[in-house]
């Protein structure tokens, strides 16, 4: 026996901090009123703030802290899905994310020493953005903060804690505690983005149906250099983890996230001791790989889903509204996508171009998405943690057959990767709404066509210049719609799966609100009115 190994720890991440600046409200004689105030500067809150700032809405973000990320911890979310990356492209932070992050599309699942299935998400991708980029969450938040500061230097108020909220019929009154004193501001719309433990939600007495899982995991974020594939690898039953599950994923700065399923009865403190975590790593990496710990974090997952994402003029986004098990990257990505669903709706309602009822569509669509994500992730959780001998037996059957039979591979479940959820039929989109990928076409892209303003896109396949001009004439200039002729044989038409003559009404969040097979000005106007939650004009 050699000497016991000395475990190395990397220095902590150096996170940026921003100064508290006393807001004008503190000295003002009267309460100031804002169109949108967001409590919480995490992924969902910052994405919404950036989206609104880009749309010209005077948004205020109240954040308790003066930095990004979670103090004393490593990253929370690590995988950002295509839809989120497309949103970040529109917001102007994608290039930084791409440059810093790890692009991947292949996932492999192992049982013991054998690979039992793999996928390549690139196969289904038409987008300018890849299926996934891995990046520590605080980098993403950092990029968003810097972007918001460019667009609206005073928008984020650091060291500003929401201590009381009065919810009214025409908005909210929010009491804010700061290092320079306490003040109250008024807002037409109040957004709770304060995360899973939201006090704002709890004080309203809203039912969130929380449940806590008994499955126990321990993350080791570790820096080392090996020729590991830049892919998502998962083990259902790893020989180097006593037959339990393991996740292996790369983030920026050569940091690997190795996430080990533990015995349910394990003591969180003892499994996260450096010598215990280090011994686990040695089992996986072998004796020769040099590594240093970035973070060791034991956790149990939990979930909740709020019944309603809108209460009057108060709206819940991100973890405040929903939390799911971490499998398949359906947490942070859905906070980001909540924000992208809500931003344009708030902008159009505030501009008087849509009615208040459009905000109900936020609940309708994002609650349905969250419920779907909860169902999907709960199924993965159950596959990974069988609760009885019988469940173990059924899983063994799946794994045994998966080695030779394609059909059984489809049942093996180590996570179904996040996709842009389709929205169910609604008054706003009678056929439901599906996401349009950021396809490049004729020197531009869907995201560039959407641009910084707030308008719908009319994509008219194979239309002539005259047809477009005639439609524009009929509809008039005041509608939030920009119509484009699209090559009926191009990449976009291929992704849309339609040919000459078909018209697609695409919302500002790049969801297709309507497909019109033979477009007339009246039909386009009716679809647009419906998507805006207006009465359809006769």
């Amino acid at each position: 026996m050699g000497a016991p190994e000395i475990w190395k720890f990397a220095p902590a991440y150096e996170l940026p901090s921003w100064p508290f600046v006393a807001p004008p409200d503190l000295a003002a004689a009267e309460r100031r009123r804002y169109p949108v105030v967001i409590a919480g500067g995490g992924l969902a809150g910052l994405t919404l703030a950036c989206d609104l700032a880009l749309r010209g809405v005077a948004v205020v973000v109240l954040d308790e802290d003066d930095t990004v990320g979670v103090r004393g911890a490593s990253s929370r979310g690590i995988c950002y899905a295509q839809k989120s990356l497309e949103i970040f492209d529109r917001l102007g932070v994608y290039e930084q994310i791409r440059a810093k992050g790890i692009t991947w599309s292949v996932g492999r699942t192992f049982s013991g020493a054998d690979e039992i299935y793999s996928f390549n998400l690139k196969d289904e991708s038409f987008s300018e953005q890849p299926p996934f980029i891995n990046l520590q969450q605080f980098y993403l938040e950092w990029f968003l903060v810097e972007r918001i500061r460019e667009l609206a230097p005073e928008a984020i108020r650091w060291k500003s804690k929401v201590v009381r909220v009065e919810h009214g019929n025409d908005g909210a009154q929010v009491e804010v505690e700061t290092p320079a004193g306490t003040y109250t501001l008024e807002t037409e719309w109040f957004v709770d983005a304060t995360g899973a433990n939201s006090r704002i939600r709890d004080e309203l007495g809203l039912e969130a149906h929380p449940s806590r899982h008994t499955d126990r995991w321990c993350i080791s974020d570790v820096r080392f250099k090996t020729p590991f594939a830049v892919e998502r690898w998962t083990w259902i039953d790893a020989p180097f983890n006593e037959g339990r599950a393991v996740w292996q994923h790369l983030m920026a700065d050569a940091v690997w996230r190795l996430d080990y399923q533990m015995d349910e009865g394990a003591d969180p403190e003892s499994i996260s001791r450096p010598e215990v975590a280090g011994a686990r790593l040695r089992e996986q990496l072998g004796p020769d790989v040099e590594f240093e710990f970035v973070w060791i974090g034991p956790y149990q997952y939990r979930d909740h889903l709020l019944d309603t994402f809108r209460v009057g003029r108060t709206i819940f986004v991100g973890d405040a509204a929903h939390v799911v098990c971490p499998f398949g990257a359906r947490g942070g990505n859905n906070g980001i996508q909540d924000a992208a669903n809500l931003g344009w709706k708030l902008a159009l309602v505030l501009a008087g171009q849509a009615g208040d009822a459009l905000i109900d569509s936020y609940h309708h669509e994002r609650h349905a998405a969250a419920a779907e994500n909860l169902r999907i992730t709960s199924r993965t959780a159950r596959f990974l943690a069988p609760r009885s001998a019988a469940e173990h037996r059924l899983r063994r059957a799946v794994v045994a057959l998966a080695r030779r039979h394609e059909f059984a591979r489809r049942i093996a479940n180590t996570g179904r990767m996040a996709q842009a959820n389709a929205y169910p039929p609604s008054p706003w989109a009678p056929a439901g709404a599906t996401s349009l990928q950021n396809v490049a076409e004729q020197g531009t892209t869907v995201m560039r066509l959407l641009g910084a303003g707030t308008h719908f896109l009319g994509l008219w396949l194979g239309a002539s210049r005259e047809q477009i001009a005639a439609l524009d004439d009929e509809l008039g200039q005041r509608r939030p719609l920009a119509v484009h002729a699209i090559d009926a044989n191009g990449a976009l038409a291929c992704h849309l799966g339609a040919g000459t003559g078909t018209f697609f009404l695409v919302r500002p969040d790049a969801y297709v609100a309507a497909r019109i097979d033979s477009a007339t000005p009246a039909r386009v106007a009716a679809a647009l009115a419906r998507a805006l939650g207006r009465e359809v004009e006769a």
Binding site: R396, H405, F407, A408, I411
Partner: protein
Amino acid sequence: MRSDPNIADPDGFYEAWIAAHDGLSDAASADLDARLVLLLANQVGDMAVLLECIATARRAGG
């Protein structure tokens, strides 16, 4: 779900089924049946039929 006779040689099927369990421990036997259920389920495919089969099997065992 069909419950009219669909197996041409019922006795031959039963014979083959029990023969597959010959010499297996209870645990190995149960594993075999679980694999068999999966293989057969994939032959059926139709979700509504599968759910009805699951419900019927559960009732009969209760």
